[in-house]
């Protein structure tokens, strides 16, 4: 194994007689393949620390005996090093001042530095090495390589150095000018990828903070009721969508809302956050769903940015063994009540979408939820889900609900979700949200 690696390294970096045309061609083509492979492997990762490891694992042992990659982050130099046959080691040291060490100089000037460290006592050698390998624990892994050829290449992107690649070989294996050029080219392409990965990690962190606020909330514990929800977004790589649900309140008086803002993806998700907040605020003023929708509509019209939202809002109150539902809707699919007997009722609440017309009035419809009954709120992503020949549609939803389980709201929601997934196959779809509330008072 190690002799094969050695030969490979010789192939990649060994000087070749300029007269040996065939060997030069072979080496050029190996180098080109190595570069292409490097770009593909490191580029796929998209995860900052993993990308660093991939760079090191690419270089050791195929090209060099030892490699270190340092990245400057917030006044700290994060160092990662890999010795042939070992795992990646990490250490952090204060960033060097420009020009005070090989590493600092290489990064400040953006120029490669090649040195042979061989003479003097072990202390002198260590001092010389420290200039390129500042973390003592990483320097230890170099102890077995004496004398040693050290090549330090800047990592630059967007016009500035953000780190450096330090490569070590046993002296004698060496780095000739062509090998240095090849490794500089490699470092150049790796630097761009690493920089992109770091930028991506930054924006991902920002997005993560924001999206935690916009993602569907965890369902609260509601005395005497069981809740279940299903949420699937159209743009799965974004994990955020324009459908939303929320349920809040306390003791025996709750407000549930399920809605769908126009558009998809992040822009839509931002709007869902505003609507959810408006509903929460309105519910503090007047708990009637009709009045909540009226207030939210007025807020949206006043903002006047031309966006609109469909929603269904319900107030859920305990009345003995029953739950009393007051429901108002704004251009949204009507919720279903699934009775323990298997009957399926549509709650016929209707109203204009939110955000379009000033002073729209909505009406509350009252429905009792007896012990064991479930009300199911959903968005039109359910009904509109495309299948091979037709949309999912109301008939299929009825059939799934009527032939499916009834006595457990989690099972009810999951059964619909499974049927939807089967129906959708690999087809693109709209955002989908389902919220189920079951009266879990003991059946009389």
């Amino acid at each position: 194994m190690s002799s094969t690696a050695r030969e490979t390294a010789d192939d990649l970096l060994a000087p070749v007689e300029s007269t040996d045309v065939e060997a030069r061609l072979r080496q050029s083509s190996r180098r080109a393949m190595f570069l292409a492979q490097a770009a593909r492997r490191v580029g796929g990762s998209m995860h900052a620390e993993r990308a660093v490891d991939l760079v090191l694992e690419l270089l050791v042992p195929e090209a060099v005996d030892w490699a270190q990659l340092v990245v400057l982050e917030g006044g700290v130099l994060n160092c990662h090093a890999l010795l042939r046959g070992h795992d990646v080691q990490r250490a952090s040291v204060p960033a060097p001042r420009a020009g005070t060490s090989t590493l600092g100089r290489v990064m400040a000037r953006g120029l490669t530095d090649l040195s042979l460290v061989s003479m003097g006592s072990e202390d002198d050698v260590d001092g010389a090495l420290a200039s390129a390998v500042p973390a003592p624990e990483l320097r230890q892994s170099l102890a077995g390589i004496r004398p040693i050829d050290l090549l330090v290449i800047p990592l630059a992107a967007r016009g500035r150095s953000f780190g450096a690649l330090t490569l070590a070989r046993h002296a004698g294996s060496g780095f000739d000018q062509e090998a240095v050029s090849f490794l500089e080219e490699l470092a150049g392409s790796v630097a761009v990828t690493l920089d992109a990965t770091r930028t991506l990690a930054d924006s991902r962190r920002v997005a993560g903070v924001l999206s935690r606020d916009l993602a569907p909330p965890n369902l609260p514990t509601m005395p005497g009721a069981q809740l279940a929800a299903y949420y699937r977004v159209a743009f799965e790589h974004e994990a955020l969508g324009g459908d939303f649900y929320d349920i809040h309140g306390g003791e025996d008086d709750w407000t549930a809302v399920v809605g769908d803002v126009c558009g998809k993806g992040v822009e839509a998700a931002v709007l869902t956050g505003r609507v959810r907040q408006a509903v929460r605020t309105a519910a503090l003023v007047d708990r009637s769903p009709a009045s909540i929708l009226r207030l939210v509509n007025n807020v949206m019209v006043a903002e006047g940015d031309g966006t609109f939202v469909t929603a269904v809002c319900a107030r859920v109150r305990r009345a003995g063994d029953d739950l009393r539902l007051d429901v108002a809707a704004a251009g949204h699919p009507e919720p279903y009540v699934l009775r323990t007997t298997g009957e399926l009722e549509r709650v016929s609440a209707g109203g204009t979408v939110l955000g379009l017309f000033d002073d729209t009035e909505y009406a509350d419809v009252s429905v009792p939820l007896y012990a064991g009954d479930t009300v199911l709120f959903f968005t039109d992503g359910v009904l509109e889900a495309p299948g091979f020949e037709e949309r999912f549609g109301e008939d299929r939803l009825h059939q799934v609900l009527q032939s499916g389980p009834r006595n457990d709201v989690t099972a009810v929601v999951e059964t619909v979700a499974m049927a939807l997934s089967d129906h959708l196959g690999d087809r693109a779809h709209d955002d989908i949200a389902i919220l189920g509330v079951q009266n879990s008072a003991p059946t009389p």
């Binding site: 492979q37 593909r40 492997r41 490191v42 796929g44 990762s45 998209m46 995860h47 900052a48 620390e49 993993r50 490891d53 991939l54 694992e57 991506l200 991902r204 993560g208 799965e236 790589h237 994990a239 091979f388 020949e389 059939q399 032939s403 499916g404 389980p405 009834r406 006595n407 457990d408 989690t410 099972a411 999951e414 059964t415 499974m418 997934s421 089967d422 196959g425």
Partner: protein
Amino acid sequence: MNAGVGERSSADYLDALSRGDRRAAQAVVERLRREGMSPLDVMTQVIAPAQYRVGELWADDSWSVAQEHAATAVSESVLAVLTADTEAPGLSGAPVVVSCVEQEWHALPAGLVAAHLRAAGIPVSYLGANSSADQLVRHVHELGPRAVALSCSLGASLPRVRRQIEAVRATGTPVIVGGSAFDPAGRRAATLGATAYAATGALAVPAVQGLPRAVPPADPLVHPGADEAVIVQAEREAIAANIRRRVFAAHPSDDPVAETSGWRKALTDHLPHLVGAVAGALVADDATVLDDAVTWLDHVLSHRAAPSGLTDELVQALAAELREHPVAARLLTRA
């Protein structure tokens, strides 16, 4: 715990499933947990056998589709609670992402793998059932995991396994696969480009420990039939619809609701899986994927008063639909 208690609990659990009663099922599990049974043992000794039995009861037409769905949904929700119980907050480092292949809803094998890995001190990020390739890759980008473990139960899902292996390996991340869609020797897994294969949940532990940290992108599939797999997979719903029409026309019924029950309903629901199994056999370069699917469907249909010889008819209809695809056609002649 003695065997008697175990049997009683298993019977109680299956009874709760038969009624689709999540709270009763949860209560059985909580009782066992209080008696000191580990989440892993509850999964392997109670839930797994019960779900296996549910599959049999449905296949034999002893249980309705609704009962089977309710039971499965209950087990999945019980399993979700149980898998959360296996979480070990002290574990640090790059996790293994554990997931079912997309469009598979049976999270049990993935839950078992997660529990085994956590018990061995390996951190896990558990995605559960039905993760799409997009969701999976998003998690890989966010977490930089040391590996992705994919569970696959159905032969018809193998083309999706291949797609997810390609997506994950493109990030340099190793992929372990396991589940009943694979052969015990791991030949299908190797063909599909998995980095490693775990024949059981317990074997996922050494498989993870033996993984390389980074892997190159998956090589393209070049075996005969690999291209046909892509075409059959893309066309599977159209192919299934054609066969269904042909078979229903050959066996007309005066009963207007015939198509919503009995063998016709089972055929409608499972033909896409049969066609998917052709794509699965092609992509994994293994004819037995199709044989298994045919045997299973034959069992299901024969318990639903299907006309005799219906399975042969289906295979012939499938062969006729796929006559322009030589490798698929050979598979079907063999089946």
